[in-house]
Homo-oligomer: 411 residues x 2
């Protein structure tokens, strides 16, 4: 009996995810699935459109057996630290045999070769990144260029660079690097993503696969029914229930007032103490406020965005400002410690058996209830959940403190 | 030609204020009026129901000649510092002959006698306050009791204590103390308040005078028209315009999300660095969050309020949390420096002549445009105006940055 590990956001879970999961089971030959899922805020610096409990429910409804939470300290980070946090959790369960991720390329070999080189963090990599940054490149572009140059060594550097222009190839590469660094025995696989690309914002009129971005656009414009061709029936039901309860949809504009409050009332020095507020961006943020056509997060991102400061970088930075994440808590030496526990969000009958096995195999404490332990990551997760819930259409204390008040989902 | 000074909030300007102003002119024999007015946040720790520009307009429409802003650093403070800031500004103009304030007693003599004693800050006063605080009294009650005991010295201490149970007597007393301390030649007067008491929340069915509290309740429940019996026609017109423009009404609930954000994401240590967050209230605030029936500011105040921590104390504290006012910036030694400039919000033709005279008489720089100078008080005022405007029903960047974008009102 093999167990598959997957790393997901499910924002929301759609038909493309179902396809990926089934393909992953097929090519790995696994029977069980453990998913590491981001909580209320996501890797690209966005609030999830519904809370983590409803997204856990979608995963369990599809057939995932056990859902674990990726702490926000890793969930809202560049690919390198996102991957490190998620892969560490999968390894720490001690029960995962295979990791399968979606990629644009669908080909594990060149990514794996590159990962083996990059995992050693050669000095040439850092030099190549620094050189590109000094020419005004964004960090992801600088990393991709330097990594491709390094791996090419006479081979096709341009092809590798092109490979790394794709966001899921990049994430996958970092999963592989993390596996290498952790000396893990988990075997990596990749499944080619089908249908709409990651960045496509319009869902196809025919067909059942659309990007999560396009589906969120449909949801925000037309409610759950508008997304029904592209999501499983269970997802649709859950979305409808969340909408009716006033717990969804969430989006950046729902956090406009607290974000602007932080930007207006804090000194530049105070802002610069927060994670990802780097290179004088505190001044750029504050000066841009006066120039906005209207007080909106969208207008702020548009005003501050440059080639160097990508939208994703700005969104992540603003998430850390919203959540008051101190720079000193998220420096590499802190993040390199990895998650300190395994937080369980939900499980089914099989998941319960997996949890029983983990009593012997897990190398981190397994927390089924948050009251089980105390950790700075958990404090940040609890705060992030409360802040996320405060942006709901009809905020409720119960939703804000769900992390304290409710047990994991059991189906 | 004599000039009257008054200290106001005009939240909003109503018939009782017109009565007070006319009586003040009559008993002082003054022809001109200078008003020192609080900006967006008020002495009892509440957001003003409309912005400072519309309230300046109400004052000019009634007949005030020159409106000056009391910086938020003094406007949201206990009576002692509120009075010190406002009286300092009136003195600094060099053109004010008389100060007239409303009081419940209407009798200047006993207040003046008490002020002369208290202005010297005798050691017995501090001891008397400390003793009462240790028995669980609120600061205002402790001050009133200790002051009355001190002033009595064989006379009727109970009568004096009763006098100081009234909020406007207390404010007036502190105006008198400030005049004494500043060695001012401004002559003090008082006018008895008529009609509804300060704390009455229901407007009388007949009559034209209601408390500002009752009028705000009418405004929040029924819009400008509901308050029409109790306000001048010009106030009504201004209120109607502000409502229609989506700039009013403002109230604490409009600041719920940013206030909760600060309480949720900051550490107790960070909260304790803010002004008025004293005696472990940071823990009380954070622990109370989980117990609220719903996420609202009203529910928070109700949960935290005790005999010792009055509603006013809590509201002021939460205003300073919302505005990120550091304790270190508002310690007594900082506040004792007084305002560093005279900020002009509006004037009429006579006010223009008063401003011309102030070129010779003023002992602080007079700023007609905020760009005229730089001062930490002005930074806080600009931020407070932006935060206040972000809580409007339809926030606009122009309203948020009105302090930068518009000149004073000239009528």
């Amino acid at each position: 009996m093999k167990t598959l590990g997957i790393i997901v956001e499910y924002n929301p879970l759609h038909n493309g995810h179902v396809h990926h999961w089934k393909e992953s089971l097929r090519i790995t030959g696994a029977q069980h699935t453990v998913a590491v899922m981001s909580g209320p805020f996501l890797q690209r610096g966005e609030p999830a459109i519904t809370d983590k409990w409803s997204r856990t429910e979608m995963a369990l409804a599809m057939g995932v057996d056990l859902v674990l939470e990726l702490p926000v300290a890793y969930a809202v980070q560049p690919a390198e630290w996102f991957a490190r946090g998620a892969v560490t959790l999968l390894c720490a369960t001690g029960i995962v045999d295979a990791l399968c991720f979606g990629s644009e390329s669908g080909d594990i070999a060149p990514l794996h070769a590159l990962a083996r080189v990059l995992a050693t963090e050669p000095a040439e990599l850092k030099a190549g990144i620094a050189q590109r940054l000094s020419k005004g490149a964004s960090y992801p572009a600088a990393y991709a260029g330097a990594a491709a140059e390094l791996a090419a060594e006479g081979a096709d550097g341009a092809a590798l660079a092109a490979l790394m222009q794709q966001p899921n190839n990049t994430l996958g590469l970092h999963y592989l690097i993390a596996l290498e660094r952790l000396g893990s025995t988990i075997k990596p696989f990749t499944v080619a993503r089908t249908g709409s690309g990651y960045h496509e914002t319009v869902a196809p009129a025919d067909g059942v696969i659309a990007s999560a971005t396009a589906i969120r656009r449909l949801l925000l414009d037309g409610g759950p029914e508008a997304a029904s061709p592209y999501v499983p029936a269970t997802t649709l039901e859950i979305l409808q229930r969340e909408w009716q309860a006033g717990r969804a949809p969430l989006h950046w504009e729902a956090f406009c007032q607290p974000l602007l409050n932080a930007l207006i009332t804090r000194s530049p020095q105070q802002l610069a103490e927060l994670h990802e507020v780097t290179e004088g961006l505190e001044h750029r943020l504050q000066q841009s406020l006066y120039t906005l056509p209207q007080p909106s997060v969208e207008a702020l991102f548009a005003a501050v965005k440059t080639k160097r400061y990508t939208r994703t970088k700005l969104q992540r930075m603003c998430t850390h400002i919203l959540l008051n994440h101190a720079k000193v808590d998220m420096i590499p030496s802190e993040l390199a410690k990895g998650p300190g526990y395994i937080r369980v969000l939900g499980f089914n009958r099989t998941g319960r058996e997996l949890l029983a096995r983990m009593k012997d195999t897990a190398v981190l404490p397994v927390w089924v209830k948050p009251s089980a332990g105390s950790h700075s990551h958990l404090d940040w997760d609890t705060a992030a959940a409360a802040i996320h819930a405060a942006g709901m259409p009809r905020p409720a204390i119960r939703a804000m403190y769900a992390d304290y008040l409710r047990p994991p989902l059991m189906v």
